[in-house]
């Protein structure tokens, strides 16, 4: 069970109450959390950093939606390691000790013509507010979403509602196109569809592949990078990425960058730095939690 060890110098501080929790698909969950000031300031492309309790790591999660009247922000997360698994055990009425945001530079949403949104896995969640915003800005929005299998696909109906065209793909062919999002994108571009911008959000390997597809067509491509972060305000430099040969701090200079200039190998290698420690954390979590779920 979740327990809240005595807090430290937590000042005159409210904690952040979860008002809704929904299991979307296997190991992917949606949470609405009360944070009125964050909701009021949030814009597409921004994220929050949460800390569950005193012992927790700080982890970044994209603001998937926000509601100013209700004073809530929505996060959608996938169980990866210790922190996201622990988060998945919380329910409505539970509280997060910390939630800070909105962080990062908002997406530059403008009227361009045709914009293709590519979302892979849980990356569909951060792509959703962008699709909505591009649509509202007057663009033709074509959305390509993908997952390993039909039962892992999220936000299909929500995406359909804000897209002019929605293409679904699954790696195993259980739904929509059988194959990767990049196959669909490639076909779309070859078909002669005029595209002004591609926005891709998902695992680094997918984003790198998308960049590879769009490059020969010379289409501006934007990716949202997910390096390991701590503060999210430019204070630690842990989130540094290399873009066009220059070092950038993803939490303040990004998280969105020009896909054709990103050094994805560096990103992936830095994401793997703590693999051993992550294993230790998971073991400990499973012991205190009676096994994952």
């Amino acid at each position: 069970m979740h327990h809240n060890p005595q807090s430290s110098a937590k000042c005159d501080q409210m904690s952040y109450r979860i008002i809704e929790k929904r299991d979307m698909v296997h190991q992917v969950h949606l949470m609405k959390v009360l944070a009125p000031d964050v909701a009021r300031a949030a814009k597409p492309g921004q994220f929050v950093i949460i800390r569950i309790d005193e012992q927790s790591e700080r982890i970044p999660l994209t603001i998937a939606d926000y509601n100013v009247t209700e004073g809530s922000v929505t996060i959608i997360f996938q169980q990866m390691g210790k922190t996201t698994r622990q988060l998945a055990t919380l329910n409505a009425q539970d509280e997060l000790q910390d939630l800070v945001g909105p962080l990062g530079t908002p997406s530059e949403i403008e009227e361009l013509g045709t914009v293709v949104l590519v979302g892979g896995g849980v990356g569909v969640a951060p792509a959703y507010p962008q699709a909505k915003a591009y649509k509202e800005a007057g663009n033709k929005v074509i959305t390509i979403i993908g997952a390993r299998s039909e039962n892992l696909l999220i936000l299909e109906e929500e995406m359909r509602a804000v897209s002019d065209e929605l293409i679904v793909c699954t790696d195993d062919g259980t739904k929509g196109h059988h194959g990767f999002v990049t196959d669909v994108l490639q076909k779309l571009l070859e078909s002669g569809e005029h595209v002004d911008r591609v926005v891709a959000i998902g695992p680094p390997i997918m984003m790198r592949a998308v960049a590879g597809v769009t490059k020969p067509f010379g289409i501006q491509t934007i990716v949202s990078l997910n390096p390991i972060m701590i503060d999210g305000t430019g204070m630690c430099g842990g989130c540094r990425v290399s873009v066009d040969g220059k070092t950038k701090f993803a939490c303040v200079d990004g998280p969105e960058f020009d896909a054709h200039k990103v050094d994805f190998d560096l990103l992936m290698s830095r994401l793997a730095v703590y693999r051993d420690e992550e294993g230790i954390s998971i073991k400990k979590h499973e012991c205190t939690c009676g096994g994952g779920q």
Partner: protein, 457 residues
């Protein structure tokens, strides 16, 4: 005349593998004996060296007479964070340098006595501070480091309603995320923060100004604003290999260790790489702290790589001595040229070059120049860059008219007022990385300016 009382320290062999405080503090007998050495000068030079003008002879006289309550009361008239200052002030270049006894190399241990008085009170229970009548004015303080905490304390004492906005989840600034437990226990920082809260100051953590609200919005909501946002942006050297796995900024390394308590992993979830051979680049307090943390995390060998010589090390002398005792290696007059990695992009060594001191530069220090052909490789699996920090520009985000220098520091006049009316600034965000006590001095000055400004309205 009696000799200066030595500070009891944890044994180097023991302390190099724990995070407990190194300096144990004077006993009552030691404190009284040390206080008795003070000449109670009519024109006390020591006070000139203290940026917050503590009445040093008065508080020391109280200790000599065993009136410890009165002693701490005297200190707190001008210093809201004595337990912190007594521990981390660079006393040897401040109050103690000016002490008349310094000429003989035996200045009164003012800092240690200040610490003694503060610790005496904290064991006994902190006395509730005096407050003025509420003025009905609201002041926003951005940043909860020593500058912000001091400004908030003085403003609250003057009767203003004060809200502090802090971007991290714990208040304290560098005192919390930077300076390690073994030099400044976090319980002490919390106690000092508690005292500020007792003054009625509201502290909102998880609140990044420039993101959740802009400075312009704060100016609309509050009658005045103080900016004490520090200099938290880490500088890198721009050399090859700086993004390899195993290269940390000192800020990241220390934040993981101190704020996130990675030294207690896996009890605390935040991990840190426990390097075996660690190189720390830089020669200031930050470099010493990072090196000594790395040692305590279990490194076999930790070395400081610094481009100037021993005499130029900007760190506090006491901390350099402590580091040496613990076995930190000093590779002086040495500079890294590039960092080399293996095929998995992990650090494997640092290529360094030897330096010699040439002509004095603009700062009056002799400029280090590389010795041709002296390149050599030093094995390392962790490299920590501690070559300085700059102000974080996030505070400027979405706000207009706040004047800054090319270095990113905020421009203020000699009353700490910025280019925006009603907005004061002080501490590292104005001076660039400096000291706890100078940040506090700036916070005090700004509080006075804001108080005058609000009283006129």
């Amino acid at each position: 005349m009696a000799a200066r009382q030595p500070m009891p320290l944890q044994d180097p062999e023991v302390r190099r593998s724990n995070f407990n405080e190194v300096a144990l503090g004077y006993t009552e007998e030691q404190a009284v004996a040390e206080a008795a050495r003070c000449l109670q000068c009519k024109d006390p030079k020591c006070v000139q060296g203290c940026p917050v003008n503590i009445d040093i002879p008065a508080f020391i006289a109280c200790i000599a007479e065993r009136k410890f309550d009165e002693s701490i009361r005297t200190i707190k008239l001008t210093n809201a964070l004595p337990a912190v200052c007594g521990r981390v002030c660079p006393q040897e270049v401040q109050c103690e340098e000016y002490c008349v006894l310094a000429k003989k190399g035996q200045p009164i241990a003012i800092g240690r006595l200040e610490r003694f008085a503060a610790d005496y009170e904290s064991v006994k229970g902190i006395e509730a501070p005096q407050k003025a009548k509420p003025t009905g004015k609201h002041v926003a303080v951005v940043g909860s480091g020593p500058a912000g905490l001091t400004a908030a304390a003085d403003l609250a004492k003057a009767g203003h309603s004060v809200t502090i906005f802090e971007s991290l989840h714990e208040p304290g600034g560098v005192l919390t995320y930077g300076i390690p437990e073994f030099r400044l226990p976090k319980a002490i920082v919390r106690q000092e923060v508690e005292y500020i809260k007792q003054l009625g100051v509201d502290i909102k953590v998880d609140y990044v100004i420039g993101r959740i609200k802009t400075l312009d919005e704060l100016r609309e909501e509050f009658d005045a604003v103080f900016l004490g946002t520090g200099a938290g942006l880490p500088n890198f050297m721009g050399i090859e290999g700086e993004n390899l796995n195993g290269v940390y900024s000192a800020n990241e390394f220390l934040t993981r260790v101190n704020l996130m308590k990675a030294f207690r992993f896996p009890e605390y979830d935040t991990p840190i790489k426990r390097g075996k051979k660690v190189i720390v680049v830089g020669g200031g307090n930050v470099a010493m702290d990072a090196a000594r943390c790395a040692l305590r995390l279990g490194a076999d060998e930790v070395s400081i790589v610094y481009r100037r010589g021993e005499d130029e090390l900007p760190a506090r002398r006491e901390e350099v001595e402590n580091a040496k005792e613990e076995g930190i290696i000093f590779r002086l007059l040495t500079n890294p040229v590039r960092i080399l990695g293996d095929d998995k992009m992990n650090v494997k060594s640092v290529e360094c070059i030897r330096m010699e001191l040439g002509e004095p530069d603009a700062s009056g220090r002799r400029k280090p120049v590389p010795v041709k052909g002296s390149e050599h490789e030093v094995e390392a699996d962790t490299v920590i860059i501690a070559i300085g920090t700059s102000p974080n520009p996030i505070i400027f985000s979405g706000s207009e008219g706040l004047e800054s220098t090319p270095k990113g520091t905020i421009v203020v006049d000699d009353s700490a007022m910025s280019s925006l009316p009603g907005v004061c600034a002080g501490g590292d965000v104005v001076t660039g990385a400096a000291t706890v006590i100078s940040a506090m001095g700036a916070g005090k000055l700004a509080a006075q300016t804001i108080h005058d400004h609000l009283s006129k309205q």
